[in-house]
Symmetry: C2
Subunit: 476 residues, 2 copies
């Protein structure tokens, strides 16, 4: 298949591909030209068969760098700009990254990385090599990877093929439609699937995106009110902040969808959105499903409050249970579901069941076929749209001399939805201050426990596995 | 993958799937229920592994019968209701049809067919069998077949897989968009790809179609003016008749696209449409490409008058020539292109070139990448949207005692675009009246030569192949 950007630049060269908040605009022809030039410059720095890491907050340069890598047929590993250098170093090694491209905003994070790192601006100053790029894509090839982790806490790189991204974009289009007047505001990080999937939709649909470096409710609210935005993707916490910006006005009629994902939506939030006539479409999905896979349409939003909806066209969802409405593990299937985790055959195998992907989430399906997610993975802490895996924090705490046992759970937080807190068992006296300092050096800020409770023992089951739900009962 | 109708009936059970001109409406749930019941009744009559023929003018029963066959995993061979019994009998044999389902309007055509034929109404009276239907589809399976023929005149059944239909529907959506207010008027026969592809789009998009039994300009015009139709597919002759119905009024603003295919569009017609502000989108495609594959958007309609446009997203077009703008055979590629002709490996092989499908049409591509079709297959006669293959008529004429040679070409006709005329060389005296009577028994009415010219010799090349373009020069 022809590369999607090549094809789009041929079909709609003068259509706007990307707008930025400072009124920069790039047409598809601009984006194509810049990506081809960047690829020809990048070629000299990345000649191995390994992967290229991209470490950046949202920017046009990040998008150009990504497309350039695709023209070189090098899978891109998107690195989370909120991680520590230590976390990033581990990801570089486990995802076979040979070099990292970064934005100026992320320079400090690259100082001790164990691979060559190049600022986007550095690549731009190189000479173009005289190579002929192969402007086709093979749908089965890996396009990109992103790290996620199961409850074991070990980070796993989810592989996304071109076909995964294609199927996701098409399934979304069959749900939301495609209008020639659409403009999708991207305020989710592109290094998360919610952001990246919209960049890919832009190419496939020929749709402009309005790119915001990071979520800021004042900027996003103003953009919705004044810049003909038709769709925006949000998580519960950013949705809530946006609704708080609404006073007497209503959104323009061109605004047709606030796509709400990244975790369960509180009823109060949905009620508030309904009061303001904000058309919420709730979605359920994860990195492994290349973004949304189950969606509750606006028409059913009130009638089926609390439901995640039905599987998109070409996708399927079922619950591993004996009887209707019984709670069980949620299983999904479809061409947008990742083939697995990079170089982790065991984790990949564990996530499969008879051709279905095991989400690890619990839920049930009602008599009309609507999915209800009961628990967004039993132990996962979602804080401001970021997934926090308790075991990862526990592993850090357990590395501290004197810490014998550690258990992390999430507690409700008015601002972030959930924040992590830790229970530890120590053998010697350890100061809370020292524990936190240790964490600060190794964990992104949002993963640092907000409280540490010292205790004598942690609840465990017969096979000695930590019972986190029992820890929850101990919270003050 | 879940069967598309099963999936659509689950996602949008109460949305309108089909409206008829007499105000009948069927929701997707209705269509699904009716198709499942019909399948369970049909099961007893069709237990071989062969195929089911459907012989019908456009009707809801025809659509239900088609879907019922897909639930039984039996490929449907769509038979052209304008053919003779003799032509149909040949198609039944060559496409391995074990039974034919027909509408009352086509009953007369079934009287001498060599396979069991059942009226839709007959199947409806049967008892439902107690079987559990497999409501999934395999994308690589053959969904349907339709006959076409090359210039050799031998009818060939084009195989359409589910994936061909899916890719066609998606490529069209990425071009035209999908709006929740769309309603597509279907006045092309469903036994042609232009009609069938819209029935399939309806399921995949969740879009209502307004079904018309056959084209009638008064009915279609009125439907466009009064029934919120947004898209209609036409061929040049029906487009022209529709434009003639416009007096002082303009089409409602909900009408967004007149999709014009089935042959080249005369400039005068496009000019007239522009005058009436009718948004024409020209398309190029054929049965083998599962409907449109190259499209000229409205925005380029005037600037690129006469062009067929560019290949749809996921499709590619090129011309087999040495230099840019040089005329050569048009080659196309993409997931909507048929894998070939049923049980005709040689014809299938002949139509391939390095993974591209040879359309047999001649054209060139301009410096901006727009395709211009110079000749819609060198010898093909398109008459009122129907393909007429000269060799087929020639073969009939050559079967008449006393006819030694025959050559058929198309001549311009104000009403039909083109009509066939024949040149013959006879060895004994043969009356024109007898010739025509012979044709009437064996050919659809639209294929019968409008004139027969008696001559002494036909122009042939060195290898004795008939040179039809030289015949054209002999026309009075």
């Amino acid at each position: 298949m022809e590369h999607w950007l090549t094809k789009r630049a041929s079909l709609s060269p003068n259509a706007i591909a990307v707008e930025t908040i400072d009124n920069g605009t790039w047409t598809f022809a601009d984006l194509y030209d810049a990506s081809i030039v960047f690829a020809k410059k990048l070629y000299t720095t990345s000649k191995t068969n390994k992967h290229i890491g991209i470490l950046s907050t949202n920017s046009i340069e990040m998008i150009v760098a990504f497309f350039a890598c695709t023209y070189l047929h090098k899978p891109v590993v998107f690195l989370n700009a909120r991680l520590t250098q230590e976390e990033l170093a581990i990801q570089c090694a486990s995802a076979d990254i040979d070099s990292v491209l970064y934005s100026d905003t992320c320079e400090a994070l690259t100082l001790t990385l164990p691979v060559p790192c190049y600022a986007f601006s550095t690549i731009k100053q190189l000479k173009e090599t005289n190579i002929r790029l192969d402007e086709t894509i093979a749908l089965d090839d890996i396009c990109s990877m992103m790290f996620t982790s199961g409850t074991t806490g070990k980070a796993k790189a989810v592989m996304h093929t071109y076909d995964n991204h294609w199927a996701s974009a098409i399934a979304s289009a069959l749900n939301l439609g495609i209008s020639s007047t659409d403009k999708w505001l991207v305020c989710l990080p592109i290094f998360h699937i919610g952001g990246l999937s919209t960049v890919i939709k832009s190419m496939i649909y020929g749709m402009p995106i309005l790119l915001v470096e990071k979520f800021d409710e004042t900027i996003v609210h103003q953009a919705i009110m004044e810049r003909n935005v038709s769709i925006v993707s949000v998580v519960a916490v950013t949705c809530s902040r946006l609704l708080n910006k609404i006073t007497n006005e209503t959104y323009p009629s061109t605004f047709r969808c606030m796509l709400l994902g990244g975790g369960p939506a509180p009823k109060a939030l949905l009620d508030k959105a309904a009061n303001y006539h904000v058309p919420i479409i709730q979605t359920y999905g994860m990195t492994e499903t290349s973004s949304q896979i189950v969606t509750l349409n606006h028409a059913d939003a009130i009638r089926k409050l609390g439901s995640a909806g039905k599987a998109l066209f070409s996708a399927e969802v079922r619950v591993n249970a004996q009887r209707p409405k019984e709670v069980g593990e949620i299983l999904v299937k479809g061409p947008m579901v990742s083939k697995g985790y990079y170089k982790q055959p065991e984790a990949t195998e564990r996530a499969q069941m008879d051709g279905w992907f095991r989400t690890g989430d619990l839920g049930y399906i009602d008599e009309e076929g609507f999915l209800y997610v009961v628990d967004r993975r039993s132990d996962l802490i979602i804080s401001g749209g970021e997934n926090i895996y308790p075991a990862e924090i526990e592993n850090i705490l357990l590395a501290i001399p004197g810490v014998e046992e550690a258990g992390v759970v999430g507690v409700d937080d008015a601002q972030w939805g959930k924040v992590p807190v830790a229970f530890i068992v120590t053998s010697t006296h350890v100061k809370e201050e020292e524990l936190l300092q240790f964490c600060h050096q190794r964990l992104a800020k949002f993963k640092i426990p907000k409280h540490i409770f010292f205790t004598d023992t942690l609840p465990r089951n017969a096979t000695n596995k930590l019972q986190r739900h029992k820890l929850m009962e101990r919270l003050p």
